[in-house]
């Protein structure tokens, strides 16, 4: 006798559809057992109860299925977990970053004509400043007043008022919200993957972790990463003054940790290698980890033993029976932003003189006591906690690149992401070199000098950029880092001024407005220059009645780039656009480069 196959409708997953299917089922298979399907009947109570249970089960099934994928999950913690799986690092503590001006008096030199450079100090990273409300900001990079971009902004006269005693120097510096604090953690016996909770809140960054023997532990994204980039002080005074304060060096870190966050709690997670393994090779010998070595003369199992791999220090050394001094940066306020002009108090100037033994103690004290700060612009940051949708988008973006430069755009992003202490690139462009047999890529970069003018990037910066890009570069990509070529040009206009305005006034207004608008932003490398933009700017000036003619001129010579182009040959149709080669960046260098006649 064949088994009776009862068709079950699995498509019903909500209360109404399950109830409908149940009633149909009862009517079909138990027509004599239950006939009363009135909503207030006992039979209806039974079907409603079963439908209720079915609806609940369906809900939790749907919930589990939805929460299993990043795309469909809704719970905040689940979204973060999925995003973490995709390599996204989530932090609930927000920071604001901005620029402040640091002022200090520097004694006049023997001739009294300039500041004594011997007293120009360095304010070291970690110096802290605050608003009157107590919102603390910490200096991100060392600020060296010896560098070229220190400005002289005033002076202090001697007590009798006859001579200049001190020159007031100003330098811009970057600060980040929060202050550095320390906590000491007692670490006991060895533990695999030691996880230590920091007894503090509002932690935005772990600055350093040092054990009682002085060994430093380094934060890595994943415990498998065994190299970090460390800045080595740049001793080359030539490139140092060009903004490259540090040389980037890859540094193997057998002692390392990752930071895990769970809500407001922050944990340090260590690997489980031992001290002795540091003395051995840094990288595990592949011949020892690939296969089990057995007595028999054949191989039956070709799988490698993962635990063998793990017995190396690859996950880093775990601290044992020591005290860890953890320095962390914590926000002091919930709102970490500061309005313009509100950062005015120096808490700790963290000042360092080059050769203090050769300097007068009273002058050094005077400098230290009279350091002042002021932020011309507000210090803003993203203080809102990202929504689940934002986290999803960030995770997708993170997963797409996986911290690697895959597309040309990735190389540009990676270049701009290099920390400023290694030198900053103002503009970068990258192109595939079609003429090269190896199909390598040419990256063109340009930097900016202290006056905001384009200048060729220093060799130290290029060296740092090479090291930086090597960490994200695909293994078969080859990138040549080249200097972009600056094309300095001038403008000669022929305009008609308003009747009631003097020609001089019209000329000055036209020149000032042209210069202001054309130097608002630095163009991209290879970006064409829109000649029509000059017409638009001039026509918008109230003193200008009409624009008769515009001429673009080459500017080459002592203070300009040696590069020149045949302007007429590079002008597009109808002379609207000046096309420059892809390695060239145009720059209107000085206001005096704009000349013209006013009718």
């Amino acid at each position: 006798m064949s088994k009776k196959i009862v068709p079950i409708d699995y498509t019903g997953n909500d209360f109404d559809s399950i109830k409908k299917n149940l009633i149909n089922y009862i009517k079909k298979y138990y027509p004599n057992t239950s006939k009363d399907f009135n909503e207030a009947s006992f039979g209806s109570l039974m079907t409603d109860l079963v439908s209720y249970v079915g609806d609940n089960l369906s809900f939790y099934l749907d919930y589990n299925a939805n929460e299993s994928f990043l795309e469909t999950s809704l719970e905040y913690q689940n979204v973060i977990m999925h995003a973490n799986q995709m390599g996204y690092k989530h932090s609930t503590t927000r920071s604001s970053v901005g620029t402040i001006d640091i002022y200090m008096p520097i004694p006049a030199n023997a001739s009294l004509a300039a500041p004594d450079v011997n007293y120009l100090p360095k304010i070291k990273r970690g110096a802290s400043f605050s608003t009157p409300e107590g919102n603390i900001f910490t200096l991100i990079d060392d600020v060296n007043f010896l560098s070229q971009d220190s400005e002289y902004v005033g002076d202090e006269l001697s007590t009798d008022g006859s001579t200049v005693a001190y020159y007031i120097m100003k330098k811009k510096a970057r600060v980040i919200s929060g202050e550095n604090r320390q906590v000491i953690l007692e670490i006991g016996d060895f533990q695999r993957f030691l996880k230590v909770k920091l007894p503090a809140s509002n932690i935005s960054e772990i600055v350093s972790v040092v054990d009682s023997s002085g060994n430093e532990y380094y934060e890595v994204d994943y415990l498998t990463q065994n190299t970090v980039f460390r800045p080595i002080v740049n001793r080359n005074s030539e490139t140092q003054t060009q903004g490259v304060q540090s040389i980037m060096k890859p540094f193997p870190v057998p002692r390392r940790f990752t930071v895990e966050r769970s809500g407001p709690d922050v944990f340090l997670v260590f690997g489980y290698g031992s001290e002795t393994e540091i003395k051995q090779e840094q990288v595990a010998d592949p011949s020892e980890i690939v296969l089990d070595i057995l007595g028999k003369n054949y191989i039956s199992n070709a799988t490698f033993d993962p635990s063998k791999l793990l017995t190396t220090e690859k996950f880093g050394v775990s601290p044992v029976n020591t005290d860890l001094t953890v320095t962390y940066r914590a926000n002091t306020e919930d709102n970490v932003n500061a309005a313009a002009g509100s950062i005015t108090t120096v808490i700790d100037s963290n000042i360092e003189f080059s050769n203090p033994q050769n300097l007068a103690a009273d002058k050094m004290q005077y400098i230290t006591r009279n350091v002042e700060v002021y932020n011309e612009l507000p210090v803003n940051g993203d203080i809102s906690v990202p929504t689940t949708e934002e986290i999803k988008h960030r995770a997708y973006g993170n997963f797409a690149t996986q911290g690697r430069a895959v597309t040309l755009r990735d190389y540009i992003s990676a270049t701009y992401a290099m920390p400023a202490s290694f030198g900053s690139v103002k503009r970068a462009a990258i192109y595939r070199d079609d003429n090269d047999l190896t199909r390598n890529m040419n990256m063109f970069i340009i930097s900016e000098d202290s006056r905001g003018k384009l200048e060729i990037s220093s060799s130290a910066l290029k060296e740092n950029l090479k090291t930086w890009l090597n960490s994200v570069k695909m293994v078969n990509d080859s990138v040549d880092i080249l200097d972009a070529t600056v094309f300095n040009f001038g403008i000669e206009f022929d305009i008609v001024g308003q009747k009631n305005v003097s020609t001089n006034q019209v000329f000055n207004a036209a020149r000032e407005e042209l210069y202001r608008q054309l130097t608002l932003t630095v163009p991209e490398i290879g970006e064409p220059f829109q000649v029509t933009e000059i017409f638009r700017i001039l026509k918008d000036i109230p003193e200008v009645l009409d624009v008769v003619n515009i001429k673009i001129l080459n500017r080459t010579g002592a203070s300009y780039s040696a590069y020149g182009v045949d302007v007429d040959a590079h002008l597009g149709t109808e002379g609207r656009t000046l096309h420059v080669p892809q390695h060239v960046i145009w720059e209107l260098k000085y206001e005096s480069d704009i000349t013209g006649t006013v009718r």
Binding site: S34, D36, F42, D48
Partner: protein, 126 residues
């Protein structure tokens, strides 16, 4: 069988649940269910039920207590539309003593099964 008889009991004929085989009896059980069920109690149907127990502490003769009749009419027209219903409070017990004095409230619900043209009633204590 129309539906299991409540409370559930074993039957030698029907098996685990004694069944109701008379249409008037099944309607009566439905009427009792509808009167006794408090709103929100029924799974998946929070509107169902007169919920006579909710009126237990209302003052005798108050507007709130009298709204019970309206509630019964509304519920019957919605869930048992084939019945024509009237309801009234029972004032005295079988021995003629006032139920109010005994702190009791009883209601008698009379209904006419329109397709059968049969008059039935149920008496329910609140």
């Amino acid at each position: 069988m129309f539906q299991p008889k409540f409370p559930l009991e074993y039957s030698n004929i029907d098996g685990p649940y004694r069944g109701i085989k008379d249409i008037k009896e099944t309607i009566k059980q439905n009427v009792l269910f509808l009167l006794s069920t408090s709103p929100g109690e029924w799974p998946g149907n929070p509107d169902l039920g007169v919920g006579v127990r909710r009126f237990l502490f209302e003052n005798y003769g108050s507007l709130e207590l009298n709204s019970l009749h309206t509630r019964i009419k509304d519920q019957f027209s919605r869930y048992l539309p084939f019945l024509k219903v009237t309801s009234e409070f029972v004032e005295k017990d079988s021995e003629g003593y006032s139920l109010v004095d005994q702190n009791q409230l009883k209601i008698i619900v009379k209904y006419n099964i329109k397709p059968l043209n049969v008059e039935e009633y149920v008496e329910i204590g609140v």
